[in-house]
């Protein structure tokens, strides 16, 4: 299959040399219309050509272009793997499931892991349109940049934002019983803060929970599904992680003791702050008063 992908551009190029073979199917032909269109059908030529997929012809993924306007365009023929996958992810309700499934041609391992993951299973088995597909997390394949790139939706802190686009959604939190404060609690943790500041060693969601193969924390297969699993996962960065150490990160709402400690300390800080501000201001006023009205007095 991979060999086919490599030779495909040349094969397509060969079509161009044969005038009788139908309309041209190279990206430039498609872009001549699509770069000036509006909405979801618009493809930005500049960004596309710079992306990792920039050398691809559109029909490599958009194998079955629909509609009269595409008449005469000959796409690639989807193979069984792509067809089956497109069928499996059809509950997602994508415009072009074949194009989404086409990722498997070059990324078979990721797709295999994904279909077994809780994200894939939600679409494939539970027939829900909520679960993410490749493009939900990676963004449009037209603009994917090679890692590491600040523009990548799965680079450093961007991945947290990508996860948050669903895990922060109120209706999804209620529907799937997500940990309600998971994003907030992560963001205020050392991990979240350091990642936000650009610490390349700080873990994002995927560092501990897995990415394409992600499963629920309730699943024993999860890398954070049990204390033993956590010890192994945390131990990647914190060698010798103990039972008590791995208790530190739960993403759960603050325990009442921690909550009231925080309130107490805030009250302490604010009262000291108010007291010293008043003290300093009074001292300044008294100093001015003494200089103006009590020449040398007051001491």
């Amino acid at each position: 299959m991979r060999i086919l992908v490599r030779v495909l551009p040349f094969l397509l190029f060969a079509f161009l040399l044969v005038p009788a073979a139908g309309a041209a199917t190279d990206a430039a032909t498609c872009l001549s219309c699509h770069e000036s269109m509006e909405g979801s059908v618009k493809v930005e030529k500049e960004k596309y050509s710079k992306s990792v997929h920039g050398s691809f012809d559109c029909v490599m993924c958009h194998m079955t272009p629909k509609g009269d306007q595409h008449q005469g365009l000959v796409g690639s023929t989807p193979d069984k793997a792509v067809k089956d996958l497109a069928q499996e992810i059809s509950p997602k309700g994508l415009k072009d499931p074949i194009a989404q499934a086409a990722c498997v041609t070059c990324h078979p391992d990721q797709y295999a892991a994904y279909t077994k993951s809780i994200h894939g299973q939600n679409i494939i088995t539970k027939k829900s349109s909520d679960g993410p597909v490749c493009t939900s997390c990676h963004g449009s394949p037209h603009y994917i940049e090679a890692r590491p790139s600040a523009a990548s939706k799965v680079y450093l802190y961007n991945i947290v934002i990508s996860c948050g686009s669903c895990h922060e959604e109120k209706h999804l939190i209620e529907k799937y019983h997500f940990s309600p404060l998971v994003m907030e609690r992560y963001q205020e943790s050392f991990h979240g803060r350091k990642l936000l500041l650009g610490h390349t060693g700080a873990p994002s969601c995927a560092s501990c929970h897995g990415a394409h193969d992600i499963v629920s924390v309730k699943d024993p297969a999860s890398p954070v599904g049990s204390v033993e699993a956590k010890k192994k996962t945390c131990g990647k960065c914190h060698p010798g992680a103990t039972d008590k150490f791995v208790a530190a990160i739960t993403h759960q709402p603050l325990h009442p003791i921690a909550h009231w400690t925080e309130i107490g300390l805030i009250i302490l800080t604010v009262s000291v702050f108010v007291f010293i501000i008043v003290h300093v201001l009074l001292d300044i006023f008294a100093d001015i008063r003494d200089r103006l009205f009590r020449k040398g007095g007051g001491h």
Binding site: L196, L197, G201, F273
Partner: protein
């Protein structure tokens, strides 16, 4: 002025001045690097942390400065022990009931209800507060900082029943009390030792350790009387 009364007195010896320098240098380093992490969500923080060599280097600076500050604090306890051994230790920094009286008198003075400033001893109540704030800071921020710097090692010390909240409490203590310390130093200490018209741009005492006898009489009349007697005669 009486010939027997010196122009200035030594308020802090070389060791105390050195301890203070180590304390404020590490304090500033800790504040600068820690601030970026505390307000990581604020826009300038990433740029600010870059100034400190990026998050990794800033983290190392923070840990090293923290350990030096803790050592400075421990050294101070030995310094006190040594003074006590030489019978040079005066307990002038201990908070006394008179400090409450001084506080009331000072506010009465501010509001014009008293003509004179309080009869301050060697250290005013604010200076005592400043000094003991370091102990509070070392206890709260130092301990929690130590826990956070060596979490795996320290974790075995935590009893099981605390695990649901101890890590959050440690984190909150470190971050919130550090803010309190910074706010306190920034306002009271900077005002008293830098911005007051008589000291601007700074009170050079931190370098010289010396205070003029005139200033002492102004600001610490009780100490002046203790040293030189009420009639102005030098006792020492």
């Amino acid at each position: 002025m009486d010939k027997n009364i010196p122009q200035e007195i030594e308020r802090f010896d070389v060791s105390a001045r050195t301890q203070h320098i180590i304390m404020f240098v590490t304090f500033l380093l800790l504040s600068f690097t820690g601030w970026g992490l505390k307000y990581a969500g604020a826009v300038p923080s990433s740029a600010w942390i870059k100034v400190w060599g990026g998050p990794k280097i800033a983290g190392i600076i923070h840990r090293v400065a923290g350990i030096i500050m803790l050592l400075d604090f421990i050294y101070h306890q030995f310094y006190l022990l040594n003074l006590w051994r030489k019978k040079d230790l005066r307990l002038t920094i201990i908070p006394m009931p008179k400090d409450i009286v001084d506080l009331v008198h000072n506010f009465m003075y501010y509001f014009g209800l008293r003509k004179e400033k309080p009869y301050f001893r060697k250290f005013t109540y604010l200076q005592k507060f400043d000094y003991w704030a370091v102990y509070w800071g070392m206890f709260i921020i130092g301990t929690s900082g130590f826990f956070l710097a060596f979490p795996v090692t320290v974790s075995v010390l935590f009893p099981t029943f605390t695990l649901g909240w101890i890590w959050d409490v440690v984190f909150i203590m470190h971050s919130d009390e550090a803010l309190l310390a910074i706010v306190f130093i920034l306002i009271i200490h900077f005002y008293n030792e830098h911005l007051r018209s008589e000291h601007f741009p700074m009170n050079w005492l931190w370098l010289t350790g010396k205070m003029s006898t005139e200033t002492l009489k102004h600001h610490h009349p009780a100490e002046y009387d203790y040293l030189f007697g009420k009639d102005g005669k030098y006792k020492g």
